[in-house]
Symmetry: C2
Subunit: 198 residues, 2 copies
DNA sequence: TCTATTTCTTAACATAAGTTAACCATAAGG
DNA sequence: CCTTATGGTTAACTTATGTTAAGAAATAGA
């Protein structure tokens, strides 16, 4: 039994579930390990799976017309990651998903997802809440992007996700924040020299 | 029976529903009309309702530390609007919701929302899909914000939502795009003079 | 109709972030 | 251990967007 997944479910729906319920949930997943830099999803191909990270890290990104990578999501253990549009619509996706470190995941395909959702309103509910929380967080992130400067966005990010700062390369964090690595470097230097002076 | 709402449901879940099902959905709403500039939700107060716009328009926004308005969502007839965080968590909200035009809405409170979701997996499913679609659209919007310049974001917005361009004040569209009204004005002028020359 | 808001435009100037390019630091692989 | 690849820093210069301020246009209210 995977406690990380079970905690994730119970925390999300705000109530404990029975062993039987968890069992009937978990059985739709299989676990898998990947090398770092493995590509789990590609633009133009249907994203067949949703991944729950047990250990390791990855990110999703898209490549714009200018050929630049743009990080959409960063994920470490306890996070779900997929190309939502492609996975749910079963249409060619727009994002790539790539691993940063060697990573263990739980994997579920679309068919099992449907079966799961229809089997018990609790699971349908779980996925509604999961995406609802993701939506709220994303809306907040967009609000900040639209109204705050890069420096304060980085400060907030570093405060909220210190474990990301340690493990994720800076150029991916920069992209996640919507700036260039050089700009992030500039911001960090400014912060360091400022804090030395005070 | 409100056909706008029914179409919205059937389009979202990708299947038709029976009259009885729709009836058991619709009965949890009441309809209401508001003057323009009515404030439907306020920062610091629990957002008690979710609104489905039948006629008119509104927007949600938040005010940052510098006291600037930042538009989160624009909505016209056929759109749902609420402060998702506040409505779902029943905690003080972070956003304001304000009407632009005189507006007719269908309104549902949180208790009815819960009852509805638990009454039939179809409705739980509807709201999951609704928020799922909103999430995908929001992720796309953030990706564009982080990687494209204001001009191309405006061009895309104008192409996708021409009815918004006609009805929503420019300073709100500017804020929605994450720029100042002066910048949007500059962009529009550039587009006009460019198209005249060619 | 006249007046007062509200919205939009313009222009000069300021600044945050992008661009280019070089170099340094560290980790990875043979 | 050395070499190469990857990631990070720095600096000079450019550019998109913000800021400030004024006025024009449109809309709403009296």
């Amino acid at each position: 039994m995977n406690t990380l997944l079970r905690n994730n479910i119970e925390r999300t729906i705000g109530q404990n579930i029975t062993d039987a319920e968890f069992e009937s949930f978990e059985k739709y997943f299989f676990s898998k390990s990947f090398d770092k830099k493995t590509v789990l999803a590609e633009e133009g191909k249907v994203c067949k799976y949703v991944y729950f990270i047990l250990q390791g890290s990855g990110y999703s990104y898209y490549i714009n017309e200018q050929g630049e990578k743009n990080v959409i999501q960063l994920a470490i253990e306890g996070y779900w990651i997929t190309d939502q549009y492609s996975f749910f619509q079963q249409k060619p996706g727009v994002y790539f998903i790539e691993l940063i470190e060697p990573t263990d995941v739980l994997v579920m395909n679309r068919e099992h997802f449907e079966t799961l959702c229809r089997s018990n309103i609790l699971f349908e509910r779980f996925f509604r809440l999961l995406i609802q929380n993701a939506f709220v967080a994303l809306q907040y992130r967009l609000a900040k992007t639209n109204s705050e400067e890069a420096e304060s966005r980085y400060v907030e990010f570093a405060g909220l996700y210190p474990h990301f700062i340690q493990r994720i390369p800076q150029y991916l964090i920069a992209s996640y924040l919507g700036i260039k690595p050089q700009s992030l470097s500039r911001i960090r230097r400014k912060m360091i020299t400022m804090s030395n002076k005070q």
